[in-house]
Amino acid sequence: MYDFSKMTGAIHEWLSSLMPSVLVTTVEWILIGVVFLALFAILGLVLVILERRIAGFFQFRLGPNRVGPQGMFQTVADTVKLLLKELVSTDKVDKFLYNVAPFFVIIAPLMIMAVIPYGLGLTAYDINIGLFFVMAISSIGVIGILLAGWSSNNKYSLIGAMRSGAVIISYELSMGLSSLLAIVLLAGSLNLNDIVMSQEAGWWLFRGHIPAVIAFIIYIITGTAETNRVPFDLTEAESELGAGFHAEYSGIKFAFFFLSEFVNMFIIAALAATIFLGGWLPIHIPGWEGFNNIMDYIPGPIWFFLKTGAIIFLLMWFRWTFPRLRIDQILTLEWKYLLPISLLNLVLMAFVVMMGWVF
């Protein structure tokens, strides 16, 4: 496995030889910021076109295939259109909150992206409370959604925002409390890099057997709800609320909401890949030495994005299969089913770890 900290260390030394240490830190901050913003934009562009093409295939359609080969540049054209569009706002909007809301929504996924390990030594901000940091920061996105709905001075936006708040706050419970904590019990660490390294002998999804599989299913359900995707998309609910909390936004501000939805999906999938599927570690099958050696030659980031892509495809599959739930059904699902089951699962997992019944 190539250690990316050698590469970053070399860049650091080269910069240190050129300028004083204060400047080095500033330059490094800017470099990392640029890299992550670029990754953010590329993810948005790629995921939107992927979603549209895959949706087409699910419905025996083609999807957009006109702009560029296989429609690859459709989203680039859309972005240019959104950048050039006029920013319209209604009368009596709360100007300050209305303008600040898109940034709240976009900052949350950007901050979470910093702690995700993309490869060996390829984490922007390696902290020992990684998973806790993720759970804490992901709540900031809700504030943005609530602000957008409240400041738009539109009753449908407000209904959408309140629904979103209800859904996200309640689903965060079973996500953080139980499904992620179950794996923390196994790995014995909150640091995402340590969680990845603890899976060298095998993915937690398999080594943790029954409780880990239950935790994974609950994580995927709650993750779909966290990102407000179908079947939990009643915050946008096109048929009832128009567009929900971002109904009054146009141009690039609307693009921020749209982009953050897709990047949130990426983050949910990336976390699932990191925690349950071994992150950037290659697939190893015990006993197959030759196979394992070949797999080791494929770089970590490629494994990471492959696993993440598989989870993203699963989320897209959900989207084009399940119908939308009502608000009471969503809250029933969370408080009467997911939360009790995940708490029971946490106890089961603690028992399994205590008895050492882990492969």
Partner: protein, 168 residues
């Protein structure tokens, strides 16, 4: 105890039904590349296929001798709900029998007013008019939507009518 069993069987049943749904859409996704139903219209103009009952615009059938089957009876004009058909005619003595008969001058069809209800085609006693499948009807000027369906110099022929509709 019963309630607990019910609770878990509900959860498991729910999971199974969700998986069934995903199975169906998954099959669709796998089959999709071969069975795409999208018509990429301007590209496939030559191979376009239409349903049997597809109706685009009215036309009048003529044979090689420039004869049509319209005897100017005006049934279509009467039956048209929008008045999009105008039959212009005059009376002329039949050279054989000497009886005066209607003769078609101009069969005017206003495409702009037509709703393609097909009533005129159904009402025509001699099957003179039919609907064709030429659906690209856009023009640059509204006056171009008014069409004369009978070809210049064409004549009514009783033989042509008999040959086409037989002795129904």
């Amino acid at each position: 105890m019963n309630a607990i069993i019910n609770y878990f069987s509900e959860v498991i049943n729910g999971g199974i039904t969700l998986l069934k749904g995903m199975g169906i859409t998954g099959k669709h996704f796998v089959r999709a590349p071969k069975e795409i139903i999208t018509q990429q219209y301007p590209d496939n103009r030559d191979t376009l296929t239409f349903g049997d009952r597809f109706r685009a615009q009215l036309f009048m059938e003529h044979n090689e001798e420039n004869q049509n089957r319209c005897d100017a009876c005006q049934t279509c004009e009467t039956v048209c709900p929008n008045g999009s058909i105008e039959v212009v005619w005059h009376r002329e003595a039949d050279p054989e029998t000497g009886k005066k008969k209607k003769v078609l001058d101009k069969y005017v069809y206003h495409l702009g007013m037509c709703t393609f209800c097909n009533l005129c085609v159904l009402a025509c006693p001699t099957e003179a008019i039919k609907m064709n499948k030429e659906f690209e009807t856009a023009v640059y000027d509204r006056s171009e939507l008014t069409k004369v369906l009978n070809k210049p110099g064409s004549k009514f022929s009783q033989d042509y009518v008999d040959k086409t509709i037989g002795n129904k």
